[in-house]
């Protein structure tokens, strides 16, 4: 039973940083790179890696634009990402309840 539930855990959300990024994007329509960085307390490189992997899974989308000459990238959760995140949370909940 336990292994069954564990199998439903989404591998993409295994790291806490990625789970955090997703949870922030669930309640905020858009979030800029810098705002995410400040909120999560991650380094540039670390955050960028996690964002890229989430983007590759198709869970988040990046919008690149420029403010003056400075690049400003904002991120938002895709439909697939929202679905995957709530599935993951449900699995997590079931797992804890079954203990």
């Amino acid at each position: 039973m336990k292994t069954d539930l564990l199998a439903q855990f989404n591998k993409a959300f295994e790291s806490k940083a990625r789970l955090s990024i997703m949870s922030v994007l669930m309640v905020n329509e858009f979030m800029s790179f810098n705002a995410l960085k400040e909120l999560l307390g991650l380094t540039d490189g670390n955050l960028a890696t996690h964002l890229r992997s989430l983007e590759e899974s198709g869970y988040i989308a990046a919008q690149k634009q420029f403010i003056g000459r400075k690049p400003n990238t904002t991120y938002s959760a895709t439909q697939a990402g929202q679905q995957a995140f709530s599935d993951h949370l449900n699995a997590l909940e079931a797992f804890i309840k079954n203990l």
């Binding site: 806490k16 949870s23 669930m26 309640v27 905020n28 705002a35 400040e38 909120l39 203990l99």
Partner: protein, 215 residues
């Protein structure tokens, strides 16, 4: 077992992160208290100058009986006091909120505070312009309840982006403003209750609920 504890902790952190990222939680109760005290001082100043009597109703005919000159000087006086009160209240409110954010180690100027500010600014600015129009048509007494009502609307709109408790304050302000509409003559009194007493009560309640560190 340690694994489940880890998951539980992750869930708690996610919850706090969701709240922190979407709401501005650094609003200090002391901001409310200071704004309330300043508003009461303003109301007292107006009372001393105009002497309408806090409890004796002033009817329209009395306002009409003023000469044009004294009428416009009173109007000017009221607007000046209102602006000074607004400015001081904003300054002190910002000070306590910035202080609380610093204590919490959070930035003040972020996405959630901008959203909160914008949500409140639109109804407030609308109310401000509305009051200017009322003044232009010599409906000074109507401006008092209108400021209360629009302020309540601004709070109601802003409460989505900050502590939920602001919502109750908003309902009180709107209700008081509406009552005040049908109770002319007691405008200064209702205004003092709305901007003075309610702010102080709300501020103290918030301060004891969220900020007082258990000694």
């Amino acid at each position: 077992m340690p694994e489940s504890r880890e998951h539980l902790q992750t869930l708690t952190e996610i919850r706090s992160l969701m709240e922190r990222s979407s709401k501005f939680l650094s609003l200090s109760g002391l901001s409310g208290v200071s704004a309330g005290i300043i508003a009461l001082c303003g109301a007292a100043t107006v009372y001393m100058r105009v002497r309408t009597g806090l409890f004796t109703p002033v009817r329209d005919y009395r306002v009409d009986s003023y000469t044009d000159a004294s009428h416009s000087s009173i109007e000017q006086f009221l607007v000046t006091v209102a602006l000074v009160v607004l400015g001081l209240a904003l300054l002190s409110g910002t000070y306590f909120t910035v202080r609380k954010a610093r204590l919490q180690g959070q930035s003040v100027w972020n996405q959630s505070s901008k959203r909160l500010l914008w949500a409140m600014l639109v109804p407030l600015a609308t109310g401000g312009v509305f009051c200017l129009a009322l003044l232009q048509y010599n409906l000074i007494w109507l401006a008092f309840p209108v400021t209360l009502i629009f302020y309540g609307m601004a709070l109601l709109n802003g409460s989505k982006y900050t502590l939920r408790d602001v919502e109750s304050l908003a309902y009180c302000e709107i209700a008081l403003g509406l009552v005040s509409l049908f109770w002319p003559g007691y405008n200064l009194l209702t205004w003092s209750i709305g901007f003075g007493v309610l702010h102080i009560v709300y501020g103290l309640a918030m301060y004891y609920k969220y900020e007082r560190t258990p000694a």
